[in-house]
């Protein structure tokens, strides 16, 4: 990539964020219904925050083109959740000044937790389409819903993948494998790791090491040494980008070659990570994350159409699976709202609780059925593998485009 391209690519989100947030704000008239769209559109999470917002935008355009919701056109009022404080401020503004019927968001778990406290107090429904922290839907809120899989689902996929795909690929009994869990020690990594331990122990896996580290670590050689000393066969790392790169590089340079490395979202899903560590080093590394684009189209029905719509609107390929998951989640919600009359919290709850969409019929593959706490219990994460510099879906078999190979 040339410098110019890189610079243009870097500047584009900022320009677009300004353009879109200015463009979508308008007042709802009689034949319109207004929803809030709360994402980090500036600051350090802007890239994927905006990517998430694009998914929602495409879903809204599609719904509007097909007659809208309850015969009304959907209008989005944008909010920029640059940090927790601003997320709270923007949620207040959307509710009191923009008078939105509900809020969609948020990508970032911490912003989602902060902003949804405001909406819950005001009795306004909040639809989370992308944040993964477990507690978002476990705070006893009445008007909180989440369409996407969570930290718990990520750990579930990790463990299931070891049991059903990794161990068979290695020709070994899963319970003979020595498992090591390493994770960045904020809420995200710690909560995934605790579910990995829980599900791993339930399945009788031999977990020999669980270790957290600060994500700002500049050296992971002692962790690599510890894993090697404990003869860990399978490493599960839940991490951000810098620490994913650091671990993969240092493990490789120190000649530590476990039978499998399984990453959790974050850095493991991103092409710049593969470029930074080298395509040959990341070859074969596994990952669990939201549905991405290299997925069986017979299972993720409509993923191709989504990519086409995205290209037509934004002139580039999607930059991550966040847009796809926000798109699919928003469609589930908006289509459900079309089945009832009115937008009171009660009718919205009624609409969501009636949803029952089987897996293999949506653009993300996973289905939708909401539990009492508002969490979509039919959601799950996909297992993926790096092959020749590409991240392809290998688990579950229905969604896979290739078999998991080690």
């Amino acid at each position: 990539m040339t410098m110019k391209n890189k610079l243009a690519r870097a500047l584009l989100p900022a320009a677009l964020a300004v353009a879109t947030s200015a463009g979508v704000i308008s007042t709802a008239s009689a034949d319109e219904v207004k929803f809030g769209a709360l994402y980090p559109l500036s600051g350090s999470l802007a890239l994927l925050g905006e990517e998430s917002f694009r998914g929602l935008e495409i879903a809204v355009e599609e719904i509007n083109a097909n007659g809208g919701v309850q015969g009304m056109q959907v209008v989005l009022a944008g909010g920029d959740a640059v940090d927790q404080n601003q997320a709270i401020g923007e949620a207040r503004r959307l509710i009191s000044r923009e008078d939105v019927a509900a809020i969609f968001g948020t990508y970032s778990s911490s912003r989602s937790i902060a902003a949804s406290q405001v909406s819950e107090l005001a009795g306004v429904p909040y639809f989370e389409l992308g944040a993964v922290a477990h507690e978002i839907t476990n705070r006893g809120f009445d008007n909180m819903y989440r369409t996407n899989p969570t930290a718990r689902h990520m750990a579930r996929t990790h463990v299931d993948m070891i049991l059903e795909a990794v161990a068979p690929a290695l020709g070994r009994d899963a319970t003979d494998l020595r498992i090591g869990i390493i994770h960045e020690d904020s809420n995200y990594g710690s909560s995934v790791a605790s579910f990995q331990e829980l599900y791993g122990e339930e399945a009788g896996l031999n977990i020999v090491m669980v270790e957290g580290y600060p994500a700002t670590n500049v050296d992971m050689s002692s962790i690599v040494l510890r894993l090697r000393e404990r003869d860990v066969d399978i490493v599960m790392q839940t991490s951000y980008q810098d620490d994913s790169i650091l671990f993969l590089r240092q493990a490789n340079e120190r000649g530590y070659e476990p039978a499998a490395i399984i990453g959790g979202g974050g850095g493991y899903s991103m092409v710049p990570t593969a470029e930074a560590v080298g395509v040959d080093v990341i070859e074969g590394v596994l990952n669990a994350d939201f549905t991405q684009y290299s997925v069986n189209e017979g299972f993720a029905v409509g993923v191709e159409e989504f990519v086409e719509a995205y290209r037509a609107k934004y002139g580039s390929d999607p930059r991550s699976g966040h847009s796809l998951n926000n798109y699919a989640g928003a469609k589930v919600v908006l289509e459900a709202l079309d089945q009832v009359e009115g937008f009171t919290p009660e009718t919205i709850r009624e609409a969501l609780m009636a949803v029952d969409i089987p897996a293999g019929t949506t653009a993300v593959g996973y289905g939708a059925k909401f539990a009492e706490n508002g969490q979509n219990d039919a959601a799950f994460m996909m297992g993926m593998q790096w092959r020749d510099g590409e991240l392809i879906t290998v688990y579950p078999p229905d969604a896979a485009v290739a078999d998991l190979e080690l």
Partner: protein, 315 residues
């Protein structure tokens, strides 16, 4: 590992085997610690220099590292040269930036309350991070490693050629700055200004100029660090934050303003970090590092190598 054979699990090893392995591990951790210490040292030297002379705690120190790493990335990409060659571009630019910051931000506040200067550098840090976020987004930028990630295999211990270069450069930098401060006219003027600004001014030293040069040299040290670090660590607007907290610990532990103290403190922290990380775990190593730091503060508040110094910035 020699022969590619895996060591047996800990509980199946004989005592003798265990002793040999334990010694291997001690050696490995020692080497890891030295390499890590060198990294902290090369980032800390400029910080302690600026503090010792100008009496400014530069909270934007890490951000100068970050900006310099971006310069290395773009110079490498643009000219297609080895990252080390970019030093000729990066050093003058970052030196100039340092002089500019001293002239327009620090100097006008020189005689005001110390807290004001802290706020000024914290503000500068936030502004620099957000400026880079605006320009380049939160993505990472990987400078090509250009062979600097080649592994040097010393029996059980391994390190990268790039890490060894950092160690050599850190020692050379400390020696070089020491010589510069003691053997050159400008160096003596800098020290005189650091010892007593008013007296230095009376002796005909242009204090304002000396401060600008000192700040420039201080951030040039991170310019050098950036050239050495960029091929090993990905660059992002937040990268300065990763290094800066420990470099403050290093500077205070070594004795504020003591350059050789910073080198030694960095090595101590690097080695403690490596051993605690291996024997106790990554989640408790900061507990050990900061525990030792607290003990030093309690029993030797002037730092391990700090003597009685004039720390007033208005003297």
């Amino acid at each position: 590992m020699a022969g590619g054979s895996k060591p047996p699990p800990l509980n199946q090893r004989s005592n003798w085997h265990g002793v040999l392995l334990a010694m291997d591990l001690i050696f490995t951790n020692l080497v890891n610690g030295l390499m890590l210490g060198a990294l902290y040292a090369i980032v800390s030297v400029g910080l302690t220099l600026v503090f010792g002379i100008i009496k400014v705690i530069n909270f934007a120190h890490g951000e100068f590292l970050m900006v310099a790493m971006f310069l290395v990335f773009f110079a490498t990409a643009y000219f297609g040269v080895h990252p080390y060659v970019t030093l000729v571009v990066v050093l003058p630019l970052i030196f100039g930036l340092g002089m500019l910051v001293q002239r327009v931000l620090i100097e006008p506040l020189q005689d005001s309350d110390e807290h004001i200067m802290i706020f000024a550098t914290v503000g500068l840090s936030i502004a620099m991070i957000n400026l880079m976020l605006m320009l380049f987004g939160p993505d990472i930028y990987s400078t090509p490693s250009s062979g600097l990630r080649t592994v040097v295999d010393m029996g059980p211990a391994m390190f990268l050629t790039g890490q060894l270069n950092i160690l050599i450069a850190a020692i050379a930098l400390v020696g070089g700055i020491h010589l510069f401060l003691t053997r050159t006219q400008l160096g003596r003027a800098i020290r005189a200004t650091g010892q007593n600004r008013a007296a230095a001014q009376l002796m005909g030293i242009n204090v304002s100029w000396v401060y600008m040069v000192t700040f420039g040299i201080g951030v040039s040290c991170v310019g050098l660090a950036a050239v050495l670090i960029a091929p090993l660590y990905p660059t992002s607007p937040e990268v300065g934050q990763y290094f800066v907290l420990l470099s403050f610990v290093v500077v205070v532990m070594g004795g504020l303003g003591s350059i050789s103290g910073a080198l030694l403190a960095a090595m101590i922290i690097g080695i403690v970090d490596a051993f605690a990380g291996f024997y106790l775990g990554a989640n408790v190593k900061d507990l050990v590092v900061f525990g030792i730091f607290l003990l030093v503060l309690i029993f030797r508040p002037q730092g391990l190598f700090g003597g009685a110094r004039n720390m007033s910035h208005v003297s």
